[in-house]
Symmetry: C2
Subunit: 207 residues, 2 copies
C-alpha cells in the first residue's frame, strides 16, 4: 500500500507531519513524501526531503495533501494540481489537511462534495463547487478533507482505521499517547474569545 504526501512550495510541514507520524505505523504501508522533483523541500524553517518525484509515484493508493501557511498558495501550484487530479483517478482515498482541500478544489474534485478546511478559509471552498461543512474531518465518497493543521491527526487516525482496521488505529493512537488535554478551550472560533479569533484571522488572512 502506497501513501503519497505531496510537498510543494509553501506547504506547511506540520500539516504533512501529523498524518505522516500516524500513517507510518500501518503495517505494510509505505509513506512517501513526493514532489515535482525529489530533494529537500523547505517549509519556512523545517525541511523535509521528497524521496520521489510525482512521476515516480503516479498511482498511490492514498494521497494526503498538506496545506500552506499562505492559505491560497496550493491553488497556484500547477504541478501539484496536476498530480492530485491524475492520482485521484486511481486512489482508494484522496485526502487533505487544512487548506490542502483548496488544491483538491482547484483540481476539480470538490464539485458538489461536502468538504472542510481551516476555519479561516471556509469561504474559499465555495468557488470550487464544494459544500463547506464545519466538522473536524469530512468523508464524502473517497474524498476526506480535514479542518486546520492538527485536525490532520484526527483525520489520519480515521484513515488508518479504514486502511488497517480499528484495532490498528487505536494501537497507533495509544502509541502516540493521543489523549489530548489542551490547557485552553480556544481551538476553534466556536470556543475562542472573539478578540483572539479576530487577531488570528488578521494574521492568517491579512486584508
Amino acid at each position: 500500500m502506497h501513501i503519497a504526501i505531496p510537498l510543494y512550495a509553501g506547504y506547511d510541514a506540520m500539516d504533512a507531519l501529523g498524518p505522516y507520524f500516524v500513517l507510518r505505523n500501518i503495517p505494510g504501508a509505505t509513506v512517501t513524501f513526493v514532489a515535482e522533483r525529489p530533494g529537500v523541500i523547505p517549509d519556512e524553517e523545517v525541511t523535509l526531503t521528497a524521496t520521489a518525484s510525482f512521476a515516480d509515484v503516479p498511482r498511490p493508493d492514498v494521497v494526503v495533501v498538506p496545506g500552506t501557511r499562505d492559505v491560497k498558495q496550493s491553488i497556484l501550484d500547477e504541478a501539484l494540481i496536476h498530480y492530485v487530479k491524475t492520482a485521484h483517478a486511481t486512489t482508494t482515498w484522496t485526502t487533505s489537511v487544512c487548506v490542502g482541500s483548496l488544491a483538491l478544489g482547484a483540481a476539480g474534485l470538490l464539485e458538489g462534495v461536502r468538504a472542510t478546511t481551516h476555519w479561516v478559509a471556509h469561504d474559499l471552498l465555495v468557488q470550487f463547487g464544494a459544500q463547506p461543512v464545519d466538522e473536524r474531518f469530512v468523508q464524502d465518497g473517497k474524498i476526506i478533507t480535514s479542518a486546520g493543521v492538527l485536525a490532520g491527526i484526527d483525520m489520519a487516525l480515521h484513515l488508518a482505521s479504514l486502511l488497517a482496521g480499528e484495532d490498528m488505529a487505536m494501537a497507533i493512537q495509544l502509541g502516540l499517547e493521543y489523549a489530548p488535554q489542551p490547557p485552553f478551550n480556544a481551538g476553534t472560533p466556536k470556543t475562542a474569545p472573539e478578540e483572539i479569533t479576530a487577531f488570528v484571522r488578521s494574521v492568517l488572512r491579512p486584508a
Copy 2:
C-alpha cells in the same frame, strides 16, 4: 528569548516537532534545533537539521528535550545529558516530551521531583528519584515533563502561556485549529482496550 530543542541519535522527530510548531509562533522567541554537532540529524525517516551545536547555545532560556523510539536511548547519550545538566543551571524552564524526561533524570534533575513520561516507561522514572505522576504534563519548580509524544503539544501550549501569556497561547491554539476530536478513545491505557495496550507495550518495550 531562546528555546533550544536538542537532537541526538534516536530522537523521535514528532516529540520535537509538536512543541516546535507551537513555540515558533511566540513573538520574539527563537526556536533552535541544537545537537552535539550541527547538521542533519536523521530520525528513522524524517530528517531535521540542527542549525547550532550544544556549545553554540549554552544558556538557552528554555530547553525542550524530545524522547526516543527506543525508550532508554536518551539516557545513554552522554553529550545530551551533559548539555541538559549544564543548560538547566540557567534556564527559566527545563522541559521534556515523552521519554525525554529520562534524560532529565539521567542528568540528575528529577531527584524528588514530580514528573511524567510515556505511559510505557513510567516505572523507569523511579530509578532517578522522581515521583512518577500520571498526568498529561507536570510542572514542578521550573521542570515541566509531559506524557507520550502528542502530550508535547499540550505541554507546549502551557509553556507558551508561561512565556507569552494566555492570550498568545490561545491564539496559537486557534491558528493550529487544535480542537482535538480523536475518532477513538484509546489514547491512554486507562481507556484503551486491554489487548491493544498489551500489543503496544510489546512493540514499544519488547521483552
